[in-house]
C-alpha cells in the first residue's frame, strides 16, 4: 500500500518559483502557457497490514501535520495498491 501526497501552494499565495519557471519555459518558446505553480510530491510506503481507509487516514494526518503547512498550502492524497 502506498500513499501519494501532493502539496500545492494555496491559489491565494504567491509562488515566485513557479513564476520563474514559467518565465524559463516561455524562453524555450512555449508562449501559450497561462501559469505554472510549483508543488511537492511525497510517496509514503505503508505496511501490508494497513487497509485502504487506514492508509488514507494516516496519510491525511501526516500531510496536515507535517508535509503541508495549512496556512499556505493545500494537499491531496491518493492511495495506490
Amino acid at each position: 500500500m502506498k500513499a501519494k501526497v501532493y502539496v500545492t501552494l494555496k491559489s491565494s499565495v504567491l509562488d515566485p518559483q513557479g513564476k520563474a519557471i514559467h518565465h524559463s519555459v516561455e524562453q524555450l518558446g512555449y508562449q501559450q502557457i497561462a501559469d505554472i505553480r510549483q508543488g511537492k510530491y511525497f510517496e509514503i510506503a505503508l505496511d501490508d497490514s494497513v487497509n485502504e481507509s487506514e492508509a488514507r487516514e494516516a496519510a491525511e494526518k501526516i500531510a496536515n501535520d507535517v508535509l503541508a503547512n495549512p496556512v499556505i498550502e493545500d494537499f491531496r492524497v491518493e492511495i495506490v495498491n
Binding site: L9, L14, D15, P16, Q17, V66, L67, N69, V71, I72
Partner: protein, 233 residues
Amino acid sequence: MKFGVIVFPGSNCDHDAYHVISKHVGQPVDFIWHKETDLSGYDAVIVPGGFSYGDYLRAGALARFSPVMKAVKDFAAEGKFVFGICNGFQILCEAGLLPGALIRNEGLHFICKHVNIRTENQYTPYTNELDYGSVLSLPVAHAEGNYTCDDATYQTLEENNQIVFRYCDENGEITSEANPNGARANIAGICNLDRNVLGMMPHPERACEELLGSNDGRNIFRSLTGAIAAVSN
C-alpha cells in the same frame, strides 16, 4: 535573569545571540541543545537564525518537532519571553506560536543587506526602549522572509497591534521599494497577543556594535532586559 539560546542542527546565529547577551546585555546565558526538554530557570529564550534541519521541507518545519519545542510552547504559555529571529521566526510560525507563514522572497534571491524597519508598536517587552515610529537599521539575510497570512489573520494582527516592525525607507516611510521580500504590508516582525513572543526577520543580534555597521539592535535587547527585570520584581 537568565537567557537561553536554542541550538538546532543547522542553527548558525546562535553564537551571535550568545555574544550579544553575554557581552552587551551582560547577563548569564546558556546554549540549549534542541534535545533539551526542561527550560525551568530561564527567563527568556532566543530561537536563533540559521538553517535548522537544512531548511528541508520548509524553513522551520522540521525544527518544530524537536523535543525542545514542546518546552518552548509551555514556556511561552507561562508568559516567559520567546524571541525568534530569522529562522527562529520561521520556526515560531511553523510551531503555531505566531500566526502566518514565511514564504520564498518575491524576487527569489537570498537577500543579505541592511534594511530599515520602523517601530510600529513601542508597547511590547521588546520595544519599550524605542519610540513609536523610530527607524532601525538592521541586516537581513534570508531567502524565505516573505511574511504572508490570510485577510482575517491580517485584520486580527492590525486590530491587536501585533505588527511590531515594518520595512521602511530611511525616512520611515512604508513604501513598496523599501520592502525587500514582498512581505504582506511590509511586515518585518510580529508578536503574539500576549506580547511575550516576538518573531522578526531582521537580525538585531548582528547590529549591536558600531564595527558591524549599526548598533540599533541594542535597544531591542535593552527593552527585553528591562521587561524581564520588571516581571521579576
